[in-house]
């Protein structure tokens, strides 16, 4: 076990963990952040996506030891049900959720896309989400939600 200092959702946090502990386990088990989800542990599905220095990143394979001094943002850091981020609000407006287990990854990937591309085409949205899996078949609504968020933030 070692101590690691991380910036999570704008706050300095110190955690005790083994160096090889993936960030996802630190966020969920040490910091009780439930937004990022465990889907595969293989970086195949995107359910665990967080932002590291603004980039959408798979937290399930990223060792905590590589994150000293880097900025981590989770779904909770984006907004809350009381004060949602525009992407979160767009998912609510489009009712773009079924079981919601993939939602974290979809929202985080979409927010990272819109941070660099204010007016993405449908093809660019599809491309940005191509690595995120949804099992319930909510894809069409998710794309519409990202388009809505883009319009509202433009």
């Amino acid at each position: 076990m070692a101590r690691y200092s991380l910036m999570v959702n704008g706050k300095a946090r110190t955690v005790e963990a083994d160096a090889d502990t993936p960030l996802l386990y630190v966020l969920r088990d040490n910091l009780a952040l439930n937004g990022p989800k465990f889907g595969c542990g293989l970086a195949q599905c995107g359910a665990c996506t967080v932002h590291v220095d603004g980039q959408a990143t798979r937290s399930c394979v990223l060792p905590v030891s590589t994150l000293q001094g880097r900025k981590v943002t989770t779904l909770e850091g984006l907004g809350s049900s009381a004060k949602p981020h525009p992407v979160q609000q767009a998912f609510i407006d489009e009712q773009a959720v079924q079981c919601g287990y993939c939602t974290n990854g979809m929202v985080m990937a979409a927010a990272a896309l819109l941070a660099t591309n204010k007016a993405p085409s449908e093809a660019q949205i599809v491309d940005a989400l191509a690595g995120n899996l949804c099992r319930c078949g909510t894809h069409q609504r998710i794309v519409r939600a990202v388009q809505r968020a883009a319009k509202q933030t433009a």
Binding site: M1, A17, D18, D20, T21, P22, Y25, R28, D29, A32, L33, N34, G35, P36, K37, F38, G39, C40, G41, L42, Q44, C45, A47, T74, L75, E76, L78, G79, S80, S81, A82, P84, Q88, F91, I92, Q95, V97, Q98, C99, G100, Y101, C102, T103, N104, V107, V126, D127, L129, A130, G131, N132, L133, C134, R135, C136, G137, T138, H139, Q140, V143
Partner: protein, 740 residues
């Protein structure tokens, strides 16, 4: 309805918070046990002193939106605003057992039971109000839980003022008058789902998020080879992992327990288990031939009219075809998880099971505890679409917690969920039809080879949970669902014989996967109907309309045709010149033959060189009776369509001679965003008609619609799901050699 769970829990009366609700114990608060008898109003409804109404239902929301829809139904029957209602689902200590959540029954059966309880409650409240106000009930009106004298609205009494701490003490009146559909105010509106704001912000409690004081983390270690047993366990390396607590073994059940989850993962990897060789698996390439020859428990005539053998013998022309549907898996996005707490002889489980009530019996058998000391509290998991690994993970947690006497969280791995959760059984179907000289269908004969639904009188041990069989419990039952459903076909043919052959033993531990039976049977029926239409050179939609007399069936078919801009012509008669061939196909089913009507038109592009099928558009006609929440219906229909496009094109569990080799998303791929077709839906509302389920019917029509579109595109028929490029190329080759 409130979505903030702290307020949600605060708002309703009888609440016991077992420990500090600090946010680290999301969803883990326990309510005080209460009446759960299914015939008692108090089992379904509690009116708080603050006027809030808590609905208790044994049905659970599996991510489909029924939490919202059932609240809408209760709000109207009670005459209260939607916002006043809180929902508790699937807690065995506070909700009535309304049978498992599945079979497309939550709204139709669960909702109807809730409606009768709510209407009985309203009737009793109005009677009490009449007494209190001293006027006949007929002179009272109710609005948002306030009973007023119609002629003098300043005289009123509220529901909460009429209900004391003892509740209703009233039986549900099975014949109570329900509200007329013309009086609905909440039902029929697309009220936004109450769970979505929490789900987009990380606030909604999933079973994975439960954290109890002193909770440990466990992983169960299971063999790759099916049927392998434990010969030896060496945990020397696991013991060196920091955070390791102990190894747990009971017979062939082995788990590691650690203080944090990552340590449990590492300890599971470090554990050295010597396994005996497995019991072996059949050669996958021969699976359907073998499946048809397996021993059968019974053969049933599921549909019989006239004399099909005689009519076939006398037919001017006969058409034969056989179909197959591969073994698939639920492949939930999140591997299953459960948390168990065993204290003072009482076992509490936080579980995402679709069958929390019946699991009390199964867990009693596994833990040897009395049923009454076992409580399951439902919390959502990842979508399950039937029986995935939720129940197994729950049993794992129960067993470990009772063995170690400490609270424990069990998280399955990706491989556990993809490879070890139960599978849909394979399906093979053989048909023969007879046509007369005028091209009318005069005979229809079908043989459906389906897995036996072996029910051990429902309890206990309906289903061979891993933790049960690994610890030596017998396997009296194997609940796979109503696989015979929709083997009967809907068309008016004078001579029909449809037999179901019930195969005694499946290859894998089998369970129901979205639209079990209906999806495979309708794929076969609707593909074969299409073959008959092609044989008589008739338009496929026209052919169906010719043999259907139910106007609601015709309406969904016409709706899908209209949305898609259906081109009327015999299918498979176009010849594309380039590599890409386009086609359209249609399919129709009435779910179970008795409820929701649904039709689909698929547009596809087939690459004749590579065999790849691309679905470009699906158009749906859908009639589930009166809709409770139209956008909720649309969400489910879209989901059913897209998940089934995935199943139809790419999903097939793979195995070698000893083990399942589909273990992750690379070896069991599903649909991704770039493959998603446009989906257009016409929802036909039927005010005043019964409200039927919508979770499953849309899935049922998709495989045949796609297969029929592929036939239209390339003139070759793919008769095995999934339609992999190899199978498409084989079909093309077979069609080419038949032509030459």
């Amino acid at each position: 309805m409130q979505t903030n769970r702290r307020e949600f829990l605060k708002a309703s009366g009888a609440l016991v918070v077992a420990f500090s609700f600090s946010g680290t114990a999301a969803g883990a608060a326990l309510r005080a046990p209460k009446s759960v008898a299914k015939d008692a109003v108090d089992s379904f409804l509690v009116i708080g002193r603050d006027g809030r109404i808590t609905v208790f239902t044994g049905k659970v929301d599996l991510g489909t939106g029924t939490r919202t829809a059932l609240a809408q139904m209760a709000a109207d029957e009670l005459d209260v605003a939607f916002e006043r209602i809180d929902m508790v689902m699937g807690d065995t200590a506070t909700t009535p057992d309304q049978w498992l959540t599945g079979a497309n029954l939550t709204i139709f059966q669960g909702g109807s039971e809730l409606r009768r309880a709510a209407a009985s409650a309203r009737e009793a409240l109005v009677a009490k109000g009449a007494e209190r106000l001293g006027v006949p009930a007929a002179e009272l009106a109710v609005e948002d839980g306030v009973i007023r004298v119609k002629t003098n609205p300043s005289r009123f009494v509220s529901y909460q003022d009429l209900i004391g701490k003892d509740g209703f003490q009233l039986k549900v009146n099975p014949k109570v008058a329900l509200k007329k559909h013309t009086d609905y105010r909440v039902v029929g509106r697309s009220i936004p789902r109450v769970d979505i704001p929490g789900k987009v912000s990380g606030e909604w409690p999933y079973v994975h998020d439960v954290r109890l004081p002193g909770m440990l983390h466990a992983r169960v270690v299971r063999p790759d080879e099916l049927g392998a047993r434990v010969a030896s366990v060496d945990d020397a390396a696991a013991r060196k992992i920091s955070g390791f607590v102990q190894t747990v073994r009971k017979d062939n059940f082995v788990a590691v327990v650690a203080r944090n989850e990552w340590a449990a993962v590492k300890a599971a990897r470090a554990l050295k288990i010597g396994w005996t060789p497995g019991t072996g698996l059949p050669e996958q390439s021969q699976v359907f031939e073998q499946w048809r020859k397996r021993p059968t428990a019974k053969v049933e005539a599921n549909q019989k009219a006239g004399d099909a053998p005689a009519a076939l013998a006398g037919a001017a022309r006969r058409v034969k075809a056989s179909y197959q549907f591969s073994t698939q898996t639920h492949a939930s996005l999140g591997p299953s998880c459960a948390v168990a707490d065993f204290k003072d002889g009482k076992l509490t489980l936080w579980s995402a099971s679709q069958a929390t009530h019946s699991m009390q019996d199964e867990l009693a058998a596994i833990t040897r505890l009395p049923r009454e000391s076992i409580r399951l509290v439902y919390l959502e998991g990842a979508g399950c679409y039937g029986r995935n690994g939720h129940e197994d993970a729950t049993a794992d947690a129960a067993l470990i917690a009772t063995l170690i006497g400490k609270p424990v969280r069990v998280q399955w791995s990706r491989a556990d969920e993809t490879a070890r959760a139960p599978k849909s059984p394979p399906r093979a179907i053989d048909f023969e039809a007879g046509l007369d000289a005028q091209d009318n269908v005069t005979a229809w004969s079908g043989d459906f080879y389906i897995a036996l639904n072996h029910i051990a009188a429902f309890k206990p041990l309906d289903f061979p949970l891993l933790a049960a069989t690994e610890t030596g419990l017998p396997k009296p039952g194997n609940w796979v669902g109503f696989l015979f459903q929709n083997a009967p076909q809907p068309y008016a043919v004078p001579n029909i014989l449809v037999n179901t052959h019930h195969i005694s033993e499946t290859i894998f531990r089998s369970s129901h996967l979205r639209s079990p039976g209906r999806i495979e049977n309708s794929f076969a029926n609707e593909s074969f109907a299409d073959e008959l239409a092609a044989a008589v050179k008739m338009d496929a939609a026209e052919f169906r309309l010719k043999y259907l007399s139910d106007p609601r069936a015709a309406a969904v078919i016409r709706a899908a045709m209209k949305l898609s801009g259906w081109q009327s012509r015999p299918s498979g008669t176009q010849r594309a010149s380039g590599s890409i061939a386009k086609g359209r196909g249609i399919s129709y089913t009435r779910y179970n033959g008795t409820i929701t009507y649904v039709a689909a038109v698929a547009d596809v592009e087939v690459n004749r060189d590579t065999g790849e099928v691309r679905v470009t558009r699906i158009c749906m006609g859908h009639d589930c009776g009166q809709m409770i929440n139209p956008d909720g219906v649309a969400n489910q229909v879209e989901g059913g369509v897209l998940q089934t496009v995935s199943r139809t094109l790419m999903e097939e569990v793979k195995w070698d001679r000893t083990k399942v080799t589909s273990i992750d998303w690379a070896s069991y791929p599903i649909l991704r965003f770039p493959d998603v077709p446009r989906v257009d839906i016409e929802l036909i509302d039927r005010p005043g008609e019964p409200s039927w389920g919508v979770g499953e019917p849309s899935a049922v029509v998709i495989p045949a619609a796609i297969g029929n579109a592929v036939f239209d595109a390339i003139g070759a028929r793919v008769r095995t799901v999934p339609f992999t490029p190899e199978r498409v190329k084989e079909a093309l080759k077979a069609a080419d050699s038949a032509r030459t």
